[in-house]
Symmetry: C2
């Protein structure tokens, strides 16, 4: 159901011909109201795709009626022609649905540096507008896939209101502010300002903590729409809790489908002086290719964990740190503890626990291992 689980939303996913495979590649999600509140967070990469530049303008007033998303091309570094394509896409949605183009968000995903086929794209918009329905959420979730092996959706139904979402992403997973393409809808009654605050709060501890390969996309966008169709106004804490849980669910689905990965690694940093320190330490390990390759080889090479965190500016003494892997304390006080061959890394889920012994702050970073399949998929992407 994804984005159509909440009342007030219609969606569609169609094949516009942008993907050479002929699969669905254009999704449209429309908020039928009564509210038209929306918020979005965007990649912090300074190299922003044309749809990001467009959508940042659209969302500025906290109102959006619809979002159109295409796979089969990122429309990034495509110059003025590329921006005109984004603009024309929003205009086509607006014309089909009797909206203002200034209230239509646009997202694109795929290869950077190639022009989208504008004719196919605009014909796809017409077809999607025809196909809109309250059962269109699953087709929309399929249409935004690129190298994803499966669609990613999540729904939470609470006391009289619902929140649902869809996500795509399998590589270039290292958000700066937001990440990947995600559309979340709710029928709760929430103002635009609240949506914005709640979305930033939820993404900060979910998508922002996912760092599959250290590579930040040019096209990341997480959008949250509220239709108010349930008539229910949840408390801010209840809404944030449900939204955060939904975002973590989608983030874990992204991690689980990361390109070529054979392990999902959760790096839990505890005892940090600050939460920022915990995030920096966790991210340094998540980005260490030697550690990630070792996990692929089922090798509990904890020295690479310490070598990674030694590159950070976080408060800690390397010679008092403890490191456990899958429950086995392999390093205590910066020296060897249990034998490394007690650690079993054959399961897909890997838990690394790092105790900095500096304070009470903590954070968990989600990442993946570095595998032959990752190299293979990313050495052949544009061919």
């Amino acid at each position: 159901m994804s984005v159509t689980a909440a009342a007030g939303f219609e969606a569609a996913g169609v094949a516009a011909g942008l993907k050479s495979s002929g699969a669905e590649d254009l999704a449209l999600v429309v908020n039928r109201g009564p509210l038209q509140n929306a918020a979005a967070v965007f990649t912090s990469n300074r190299a922003k795709a044309n749809p990001i530049i467009w959508s940042q303008q659209v969302i500025a007033d906290g109102v959006a009626n619809a979002i159109v998303l295409n796979s089969g091309g990122a429309n990034c570094f495509t110059g003025a022609q590329g921006f005109q394509t984004t603009h024309a896409t929003a205009e086509a949605v607006a014309e089909s649905l009797s909206l203002s183009a200034g209230d239509v968000l646009v997202c694109s995903t795929g290869l950077i540096g190639d022009q989208l086929d504008r004719d196919k794209l605009l014909a796809g918009v017409s077809a999607a507008a025809e196909a809109l329905g309250t059962d269109g959420g699953d087709a929309a979730a399929r249409a935004i896939m690129t190298t994803d092996s499966k669609p990613k959706t999540a729904v939470r139904s609470l006391e009289g209101w619902t929140i649902g979402g869809m996500a795509k992403g399998a590589g270039m997973l290292a958000p700066g502010l937001a990440t990947m393409l995600v559309v979340i809808t709710t029928d709760a009654v929430v103002s635009s300002n609240e949506l914005d605050a709640h979305l930033r709060s939820a993404t900060r501890v979910s998508f922002d903590r996912l760092d599959s390969d250290g590579c930040m996309s040019t096209n990341d966008q997480v959008t949250l729409f509220a239709s108010g169709a349930s008539g229910v106004s949840p408390t801010p804490s209840a809404f944030v809790a449900a939204l955060t849980e939904l975002c973590l669910d989608l983030a874990e689905q992204l991690q689980g489908d990361a390109e070529g990965a054979s392990h999902d690694i959760a790096i839990r940093v505890v005892g940090a002086a600050t939460e920022d320190d915990a995030v920096e330490v966790g991210r340094s390990v998540a980005r260490n290719n030697l550690f990630k390759a070792a996990v692929f080889g089922n090798d509990p090479n904890w020295g690479r964990v310490l070598a990674a965190i030694g590159t950070t500016a976080a408060a800690f003494d390397p010679y008092v740190v403890d490191v456990s892997m899958n429950g086995v304390m392999v390093c205590s006080n910066g020296g060897p503890d249990q034998p490394r061959d007690l650690v079993d890394l054959t399961d897909r889920a890997v838990d690394v626990l790092i105790d900095l012994k500096e304070g009470d702050a903590s954070a968990t970073i989600l990442t993946n291992d570095l595998t032959h399949d990752y190299v293979h998929e990313n050495s052949a992407y544009s061919s």
Copy 2:
């Protein structure tokens, strides 16, 4: 000849039994004077191995008589026992050669987190002291190898004086200040203070610009000895020029032998506002796994170059940047220029030229591609 090309130096390389293969694993280099001047630069990783902690104390006064280096174990995160092993190694060298232990530098390389076999190590020191000779440079260069496929040496003979060196390193190649294990000797007459300044000047634009895999070692050390045995005092500019050229030669040998690499990539950044900006931009590309995997696949995926530099804080406008690969301008002013299939990436050497169009500063970062063999070698290192 490596470290024994310059007059006044003796060296040896012996098999102490630290490597299970039985290959040479312990090197000793001695400065017979008349001068005993030395300088060293060390990893900036806060997680420092025991020999680094020891050697930083030894070099503080600018005097050192000898350096002993072992492969087969990094002696890092091995606690008090590990530090005692380093100390005992220096004592054994001092006793064999009638020196003070406080003038003996120690380097170790290999797996982090395992204790070295102290008995084997000390017996190896005795054997190396027996084997010292002015023809020992090549054996010493072999003895410091870990996953290196070949020894790395370089020599420059100038007007009456000589400078030579050896290096080891094939992975974890991303220096912070210095990198890897490097020993350089000269028979020029140079004071300790000058050696220190010249070494920092040379490493800043050589080893510091090599970033094979973004992973900084815990054991990196570059040491420079001057014996003064030639009696020649070169001008500072002549000495720095020769030293820098020698360091670049060794850095390129390290790049060319990086674990599993199939391409040597030079990322030249021009038109930067500052040299720091140029280095930051070049390093962001050198650490982008998606770009590195694309080069492995002979795919000139320039969008990944721009996505990488978009994550930096350097002064530039992504929409005016030019990118060329192997002489083909694939991106001009942030948009597509020549077709990407004009770029031929089949040779090992790859040249990426990025023009930020902000100023006159430039820098070149050396890196490698991300390959199946890199994943393979680093998933099986400790097994």
